[in-house]
Symmetry: D2
């Protein structure tokens, strides 16, 4: 395929649809060596909204059934709600179509296992869109860890705090429903944390071996939009977890959608035998680093030309935003597709994340520290 | 012109050229009610580089002389170095072509006055690209001040710190040359501060009436790239100033290109009789606000749907970057062009800024507090 | 006893001995209504060091056996290592001597239970020195919570990070020994966190009902000072825990002595249905508060005359230090002694903390979420 | 005098009286090699209040006239309002009595000159109480600069923001009166900034050579307590200044008593050819340092045993407060007295500060950049 235009079909045209369409649109100007991409077909249910979105997001065609699309394009972006991740992604992979699926990979571990098996059986690239791996400061942090600047990693701490559900009158949506979403804060936010921790320190600490976990729902029903109905919330508003890694390192993870005052506060901290680091998504251009020759944390604005991806953008100090992570992610994914190379985070990577999410749920139910399944 | 496509000619294809081309490219997806724009002609001197840039930035044509372009397009973007601001902009305005000129408007006040006169004599829109007016947090801050949340404004403090010239071996460029740039940190950075202060509090405090100023050059010559030559630095590396406003309010402004550890730290602080606020460009999604019912500053992440421009982008907490200011600026400018409406910051606005810059230089030379000319 | 001078005997003359002696010495100038205190007897083992310390700390007498002291003074301060908390404190209480015992109350729950029983059987005041309850910002925070400013409390997060054991050559001390200390980071630091969380939100969320916990030792032996010996570390370097409260609220606690870059970083965060707050010991004059009418956290410098204890000290903005918590604590404790009133934190309070520490250890051993014993 | 007890007479028993009395009281416990001090006589006007204060602050005697005291004690602490600085201090020095005088040294330069002359003519130690020189983080910062870690110093920025006069109904006091205070924010706060800048970088940049300045009064009269009267404010609420040093370095200074939201925010920043640093009084245990091998600022908690003065206090991370600066200051001053050594900051140092304050006032009046007198 190198040299050819890659045709992309996209399921989902709301938040994630816009984020990825924007990323695709920006590649030619800022990543000129990225493969050419045709925004081919946008898939959705509501024909009017779909047609408007296709116009706006630059898609040539629309479709209301994904079945017709998954083998009609080179690459399939699965940006639908969680309950739509498995079947279309598997169908695409079976058709040899490359897949980029939003996170969490699946609602439950068994579903993730089916998807991973499909990926393993396919020659196509099967990617999961953990976009925070593509923050320059995170890549820079990974480099510091790989270079031994933190020594032996001992402790990891990740938390992802939002507050959009603090108001009990925030309307019910599929994200509040176990059948559609699988879980709540755990899958939506926790998946990011588990993946990011794995990306940063996985080579040093090995796999998560045991998990203790707690899930909690604070608001038990929510109003249905344009209706008098209140529908039950069947997922967690918050989770907390403790993990043990193969190396003996330990970690704590948590997330909340009811942490008042926090909009998108994904903070990850790592302590090693020689140093520490801290990253926070609301200030995503910054990394706090404490190395062997420091007394305290150095606040680094990771916007120099030599920083990961930054040479594609602006001079030092001209900060990037959240959406740039999608540009980098799409660049790497499409380049892997074009070059027929492996890509991470893959379905396998996302499956490993799902094993941890599954363990959190089992640990909570059983009131035990559980081994991964 | 409403409803028609606006053809744009752009002089300059490096840093600012990319920032504006990117902004133009992003409008359709995020500001669908923006006028249609054709990236018509890109103007530069080096034909090869120009041709590459035009391809990448999406321009249909190139030209090496601006004279042929300024009356061939609807809108002329003057993104060249400072010594090229006046003549092409004036020619365009005389041709009835709308102009968006980068800041500072001119090298010196007399030049700015010529440009302002040309703007006054033309029916075209004459805009100066003070992009920081278009940061959501700044717009939000302006609203707080206009609503009286700070009471009577008494003190303003602005500083713009960079460090790219701290290394004496950073190569010489036109930005170090008085004939080409007019001034150094003063015009390049100080112009932003003076404009932003005026935008935020001008309606409350009136015009700057007197100025005391100091300019300083710390590194007196710099190496010329690909040469053994060292060329003199004839502009300031840093300036400081004190101002008095018509209302009796006072302010301090300063900028430096040798403030080690600061990449793009434009901080502005305002104190009034009822409250205070603080904004810093390296954390441009945040505003610190202290109102009448606060004890200390509240750190507001200005990313809610109700915040200026934010509804066009992402959900709360999904932070924007530096480049988004250009999208907002281009949106407002092109909308004004299409609707035949006035636009701010105009050449008149930029001329008022230039009067302050001029006063800083005169105050420094004469060792006096000077009135504006 | 009101009106009379209270004679104090103190066991321990190092870190805590100095902190409390300083507090006693400062009361007359800053808390003139505090009871008069005589620093009567200082108790220790090394006669020379003890004599020097008594001179410096202002004690009239010294003793090498606590047995002779506990019924010879009005009040007994037990500032010895953990293994010396129980017997002298119990003996003092049995003698009707008031006791202020350093935290954690005991090495293990059974020991704490003996101490609590002695306190219950005695008319004397039995206090445990959880000094962070006496930080003005913490008192202020408690008031905000009590006033309902955070609504219904849902989540608590406490962590206490130090790094003095990150170096494997930091010498062995009693703090590394299970027989002498009971536990490591858990008892030394975690006790503070558990108590502070209870102090802040206990009335809202009720008791801790279940605990999941993990303990970890990263450096397994340490050099003995002035010797070639390396002695095993038999306590935890770090712990993590999840808790569930009676109300359904949840929390995460953790501490580490190997968190490089953190000296004394005790951070506690609370989220409720209407607001949040955050406190950090290294900036102990500050409280971050997000209430119903805030968009983000307000950083409050808790140094106004109206703030708890502050009217005894300096004008607004003249910050207090760590040691002031001891002055406040001693003031309250001695005032309670003089007035024959109850005092918190009591042995009962400290016993409740110990139940949580015990549960963390049991949960870790059993790999289960355990109920409190 | 070494070995003997030093008798101290103190004029003033309010804010500064308490701060110094506390410092004297704390020396024996924490600085055992400090000279012995007798708090001999407390001087004031109101006999009842004075007697109470003497009891509380530990003075053996009281006096309502300073004349009788200045040659009756070894050391005279002049902590009165500014208009009482000159005569008692001069009388003491003429009597051979050592003097510690609060800052600013005098109301006006001529008065400072008289005091400096008296100091020069006396064998006694003449000290001015610029206590911020004795903050551990400031001493540490000075060491970094002296060691060349910042390279050649180019820019200094100092600001001292308070808000206790933001309310127009804050009562009139001597601090609002030119005859009693000399100046307002300039002398009260600016003196600290000018001295601290001089302490930190004076050896590198030489003396201040020129000054431009602005003074402003925003609230022109204030209510007199227990009266219907409103009395005019005849001093500045805020000042701003630009300075040029002998070396060519430049600086900006400012202070305000109406900067809403700032309680005691004295921030000083230094930029050199190799690095930068930043200190802020409200977080006085911290220093932000950017050296040659840093990308950004490192936040250092200056509480290690190896940090200046810290070995006298507590373990790392147990933060000090504002008042500790007075303990360090008194320790150094009294040690110099006992050893018959010179002490800084001296009257000569304070006179140099006063020359800058004087220049700010003259520059403001004349609307010129003025040389120091």
């Amino acid at each position: 395929m190198p040299g050819d235009t890659i045709s992309v079909g996209v399921l989902g045209y709301r938040f994630m649809g816009r984020a990825h369409a924007n990323a695709l649109a920006r590649l030619p100007m800022f990543f000129p060596d990225a493969p050419d991409v045709e925004r081919h077909t946008l898939v959705g249910r509501d024909e009017d909204a779909l047609s408007d979105a296709a116009d706006r997001l630059g898609f040539a065609h629309t479709a209301t059934d994904w079945e017709s699309v998954v083998d009609d394009v080179d690459v399939f972006y699965n940006l639908g709600p969680n309950h739509l991740h498995a079947d279309p992604s598997i169908a695409a992979l079976e058709a040899g179509t490359h897949v980029l699926c939003e996170k969490p990979l699946a609602r439950k571990l068994a579903e993730a296992e089916r998807m991973r098996a499909a990926a393993a059986a396919s020659d196509a690239v099967a990617a999961c869109a953990f976009n925070y791996r593509f923050v320059p400061a995170i890549r820079y942090a990974k480099g510091l860890i790989a270079d031994g600047k933190l020594g032996e990693i001992r402790q990891v701490r990740g938390r992802y705090l939002q507050d959009w559900l603090v108001d009990p009158d925030t309307p019910w949506s599929w994200r509040n429903d176990a059948a559609l979403a699988g879980s709540g804060a755990l899958g939506d936010l926790g998946a990011h944390t588990v993946d990011l921790a794995r990306f940063l320190v996985g080579e040093q600490v090995g796999a998560v071996e045991t998990v203790s976990g707690t899930l909690r729902t604070f608001v038990n029903e929510r109003p249905v939009p344009d209706s008098d109905e209140r529908r039950p919330v069947t997922v967690d508003d918050a989770y907390t977890a403790q993990v043990e890694y193969a190396s003996g390192a330990i970690g704590t993870f948590e997330a909340s959608r009811v942490a008042d005052g926090h909009k998108n506060d994904h903070t990850i901290e790592v302590h090693g035998s020689k140093g520490s680091l801290r990253f926070s998504l609301e200030r995503l251009n910054e990394l706090a680093f404490k190395g062997e020759h420091h007394r305290g944390y150095e606040t680094i604005l990771v916007t120099d030309e030599s920083d990961p991806y930054v040479d594609h953008w602006w001079p030092p100090g001209h900060v990037l935003g959240w959406e740039h992570t999608f540009v980098h992610e799409n660049y790497e994914f499409l380049s892997a597709v074009a070059a027929d190379e492996t890509f991470h985070p893959s379905f396998e990577d996302a499956y490993q994340v799902q094993r941890v999410l599954d363990a959190v749920e089992r640990a909570d139910e059983r009131g035990e520290r559980v081994a991964l399944r």
